[in-house]
């Protein structure tokens, strides 16, 4: 028991120490400062074979076996360098933030690139899994993703990302742990609100849905117009940007409110709101979001939609975060525009 406790506390200390090492950044270049190197089990086994060979060479005074031992020994020594050089200069950067709904599988996206050399036999791993070997051609970018799995809504950060390689012979392993600033946002799952609650106390009757074209008038595009309202067919034929102007010249403002779903659990409310946000943004209407502790003023467009969804995802801190991925609401606020 004591041993177990001791081991546990040691491993906790170790992981705390490792967690404290190195800063979080969106891009890393591998080099002496962040690559670790050590023989693998297979490497130690190989050394054991070499020692056996050396004993054979000594006992039978066999020069040729000495030669083989020296040749393989020198290769072992060189392979330390080759193993390091293989990773050296590899650039690891955070890829696009992945956005998923709670019922879907998410992933952290990263980009690996080496501008000068081919990189062979790479494995990358997070706590959630390990990849197969992959290789990288000089100058080409390789997008990799580390799965998040199905998780509760929230914003997740990749805590540690490991890259390793035992190139060339599997005797030596070079690896690195990086705190890459890769994010995965998990939105609430989408739940259609019940029919009776449609129109939910907004300032305006349900005006979603694109009006048929014959009732619309066309006017020229102004800055601020929703792209979804541009009459693209017209643009294709006349190269004039015209906007389908529905009956209301100034579209009315929807407010999606927390309080509209009185009596539902908060997760359910978030799911309803999520569905509403998607519906409205598809329709191109202008809407605002009002949930406890956060209000987003009415706007439109995909950026607006994402920030609304992000707010929904962030609402309250739910669920214990796994060790690798952690929930960090304070950081999200600072980077709302992601």
């Amino acid at each position: 028991m004591v041993g177990n406790n001791l081991r546990e506390s040691l491993s906790n200390r170790l992981s705390r120490f490792l967690a404290s090492r190195g800063a979080r950044a969106s891009q890393f270049t591998l080099g002496q400062h962040n690559v670790y190197i050590f023989p693998t089990k297979a490497g130690f086994a190989f050394l054991a074979v070499l020692i056996l060979m050396l004993v054979t060479a000594i006992n039978y005074q066999s020069s040729l076996i000495y030669l083989v031992v020296f040749l393989l020994g020198v290769l072992f020594f060189i392979s330390i360098w080759l193993c390091f050089l293989n990773l050296q200069g590899l650039e690891v950067s955070a890829g696009p933030v992945s956005k998923n709904y709670a019922s879907q599988d998410g992933a952290f996206n990263l980009v690996l690139r080496h501008s000068q050399r081919n990189v062979y036999g790479l494995y990358y791993a997070s706590m959630l899994g390990r990849s197969d070997t992959c290789s990288l051609k000089a100058g080409e970018s390789l997008s990799v993703s580390s799965p998040v799995g199905r998780r509760a809504r929230g914003v997740y950060y990749l805590e540690k990302f490991a890259i390793e390689s035992a190139y060339p012979f599997g005797w030596i392993r070079a690896w690195t742990w990086l705190k890459v600033d890769a994010q995965a946002v998990v939105y609430p799952s989408i739940e259609e609100p019940p029919e009776s609650l449609e129109g939910l106390g907004g300032d305006q009757s349900a005006s979603s849905g694109v009006k048929s074209l014959d009732r619309d008038t066309l006017r020229s595009f102004q800055v601020g117009d929703v792209l979804g309202h541009v009459h693209w067919k017209k643009f294709a034929s006349s190269e004039q940007l015209v906007v389908k102007d529905s009956a209301q010249v100034t579209p009315s403002v929807d407010w999606l409110r927390w309080d509209s779903f009185e009596g539902y659990a908060s997760e359910m409310r978030l799911s309803f709101l999520c569905a509403e946000v998607l519906k409205r943004s598809e329709a191109g209407s202008i809407f605002g979001l009002d949930i406890p502790g956060r209000t987003i003023s009415p706007s439109t467009g995909s950026k607006h939609r994402d920030s609304c969804l992000l707010e929904l995802a962030k609402y309250g801190a739910v669920g214990a975060a796994p060790s690798l991925i952690y929930f960090d609401a304070s950081r999200v606020g600072a980077e709302e525009s992601v």
């Binding site: 074979v49 060189i78 290789s135």
Partner: protein
């Protein structure tokens, strides 16, 4: 961190279905079979080759029951064959067998790694048995294949056989200088223990018994018995009597070695020993592995080697059978000719045996060969002097129509009688065996000595090759007033055998290497003879300088290079090597990191700039190629300007149009 390690460990258990390098594995299996040919028993080699081929043809592998059956059968056969013999041969064969059987169920990366490691060790062990350049080249291939499998395992699907194999070979070539230094300076330690290398290997060359016709069989082989090089005066051909064994027991037909004085076999370690430098003349022998413990030395030799032992009657022996090529060095006093008294005979020192065994040199079988006995009795009565008697016997051989032949007629029960009085055709074994018996019948202590006579001199390498067809038998007799002398009756019958060689001696008969097509081709086609001689020379140098590089040679080399032999100096050299190599690697690394990868056009442009520098035009840092061109335009030779212009344009156009850096 702990979790990550757990994953690393599980990586080795990952299945290798996606591994695409199976042909390499099978080629490795077959190459290893080739190198085990002659080490492992023939049935084992054939079975394992069949298994590998079957696996290659049936990628799905064997069904489980068959797999089990094959494994069980092979292992059972192996143990029935070898029983509980424990030698390196058995251990090596068993490792090889189990690694090859592992191929039957190669499931994980770990399995494959184990297979490769065992194959590497087996490759090393096989070098205990064969040391020729060809075998070493084969082992290089095995090692290269093994490493390529490991590499492929790491690189995965993007492995490009040609490119990666090339870079692997390059890696090996680059490491050769370091390997050479390590080889020369790494301290050689005396053997700690040794277990016997081979179990019951077939021996080659002369054996310890001789019936009529035995040596004639060897005359059909041009295999090498040993090589010898002389420091100081080179002996004449007729001096080269290489004594191997004394045969002193005669049963009326067969001469054999009485109980050898030395009883212990497998007692010693496989020590290549040290050689003592000598002020005077000496010679060095590189004995091929003949799987026996006797050595071949010239008459009057004294040992200059620590690992060989002097046996009775001036013979030398190894503590263990010569299962590997073995070298030894001897000093030599030339035997003195007896002179006119007995032409062709030489006085020998130090060949008498311990007193209690002296009776052996007069032993004759109880009965048989009555005619010879009667003849010798009569001769003895007329000639009380030993020398006269020997002369008479030699004269009989010379004067009567005795002939020297490789195809003697078959002789019956009274072999000496039939030979001396009837057939009169024989090979050296007939003459030596008969004469020794005749002398014993006359009361003169005599014995047959077998070994080799002569050798082919290779003038390029300044050494002799002694081949199996140089095998020879002659007589040593203890004559009153002279002591032990060497008498070669064959020389009386066929002087060309001793003065030239066997080929000359039987040239009329045309039987030289008659039954050995390849050997006779090698001798008769000039080109083949030249190639075989050159190959031998190369192998000889290889054996001399590489295979037999030991403590002594290391001592000599270090003394020559570093002034004195001390572990501290060796440590400094090795440490220095380590440092230099590390520095080189680090330097190369930084050179590689700092240097941007240039494309062909950029390299061409930079080359052109370095040419222009010869003409006195240089582009300062910061000046664009175009500005440089403009500056050139005014004051350089038009041809230079034109060249610069075209290169500049090439540089700009391609780089900026295609953007393919």
């Amino acid at each position: 961190m702990i979790d990550l390690h757990a994953q690393v460990a599980s990586k080795s258990k990952a299945p290798i279905e996606s591994f695409s390098g199976w042909p390499t594995i099978y080629v490795l299996g077959l190459a290893q079979a080739l190198s085990m040919w002659g080490i492992a028993p023939v049935w084992l080699v054939i079975c394992l080759v069949l298994i590998v081929v079957a696996l290659w043809l049936r990628p799905g592998g064997f069904p489980a029951p068959l797999r089990f059956l094959v494994t069980l059968a092979m292992v059972a056969w192996f143990f029935l064959y070898y029983r509980l013999n424990f030698t390196v041969e058995v251990a090596g064969s068993f490792l090889w067998l189990s690694a090859t059987l592992k191929l039957l169920e190669l499931k994980t990366r770990k399995d494959l790694t184990v297979f490769v490691y065992v194959m590497l060790y087996v490759a090393a062990v096989s070098l205990l048995f064969y040391q020729s350049i060809a075998h070493v080249a084969l082992q290089c291939v095995v090692i290269l294949l093994a490493l390529s499998i490991l590499l492929r395992l790491q690189v995965g699907p993007s492995y490009r056989p040609v490119a990666h194999f090339g870079s692997l070979a390059r890696l090996l070539v680059f490491s050769i200088p370091v390997v050479v230094v390590l080889f020369a300076f790494f301290p050689r330690i005396s053997p700690l223990w040794s277990m016997p290398i081979k179990s019951g290997a077939a021996s080659t060359g002369i054996s310890d018994s001789m019936s009529p016709g035995d040596i004639a069989d060897l005359a059909n082989s041009d295999e090498r018995a040993f090589r010898a090089s002389f420091v100081g005066e080179r002996p004449t051909r007729s001096e080269l009597y290489w004594r191997g064994l004394v045969l002193d027991e005669f049963d009326g037909r067969r001469w054999s070695r009485g109980a050898p004085n030395k009883g212990f076999r497998y007692g010693g370690k496989y020590d290549i020993g040290s050689l003592v430098d000598s002020e005077g003349d000496y010679y060095q022998v590189m004995l091929e592995a003949h799987n026996r413990d006797w050595l071949f030395t010239l008459e009057g030799s004294r040992s200059l080697s620590s690992h060989i032992e002097m046996a009775d009657m001036g013979l030398y022996e190894l503590p263990v059978e010569a299962l590997q090529a073995t070298r030894y060095r001897m000093a030599r006093d030339r035997p003195e000719p007896v002179g006119l008294q007995l032409p062709g005979a030489y006085k020998l020192d130090n060949v008498s045996r311990s007193k209690s065994y002296r009776g052996r040199d007069l032993q004759t079988p109880a009965g048989g060969n009555p005619r010879t006995r009667a003849y010798m009795r009569d001769l003895r009565q007329t000639m009380p002097n030993d020398v006269d008697l020997v002369s008479a016997v030699l004269k009989k051989f010379r004067v009567e129509d005795f002939s020297y032949t490789l195809k003697p007629p078959f002789l019956g029960k009274h072999f000496v009688d039939e030979f001396i009085f009837d057939s009169k055709q024989g090979f050296c074994s007939h003459y030596a065996g008969s004469m020794a018996f005749m002398l014993r019948a006359a009361g003169i202590p005599a014995r047959v000595v077998v070994g080799y006579q002569g050798g082919e001199y290779v003038s390029d390498g300044d050494y002799y090759i002694v081949r199996q067809y140089d095998a020879h038998g002659w007589v040593e007799a203890n004559l009153k007033g002279l002591g032990w002398v060497r008498i070669d009756p064959t020389a009386s019958v066929a002087p060309s055998r001793v003065e030239q060689n066997l080929q000359e001696a039987v040239s009329e008969e045309g039987t030289f290497l008659q039954d050995n097509v390849f050997a006779s081709l090698r001798h008769e086609v000039a080109f083949l003879a030249w190639v075989s001689l050159k190959t031998d020379q190369l192998n000889y140098q290889w054996q001399k300088y590489v295979v037999n590089y030991g403590q002594d040679e290391q001592y000599g080399l270090i003394k020559k290079l570093l002034g004195e032999y001390s572990l501290a100096r060796v440590a400094i050299v090795l440490g220095g090597l380590f440092g230099v190599v590390s520095l080189l690697i680090v330097g190369w690394m930084f050179w590689r990191i700092e240097r941007p990868e240039l494309n062909v056009r950029q390299k061409r442009y930079l080359r052109w700039l370095s040419i222009l520098r010869w003409f006195g035009y240089s582009r300062p840092v910061g000046e664009t190629p175009r500005a440089f061109l403009a500056r050139m335009n005014g004051n350089a030779h038009p041809w230079l300007v034109a060249q610069t212009d075209s290169r500049t344009r090439e540089l700009e156009q391609r780089d900026y149009q295609n953007g393919d850096q």
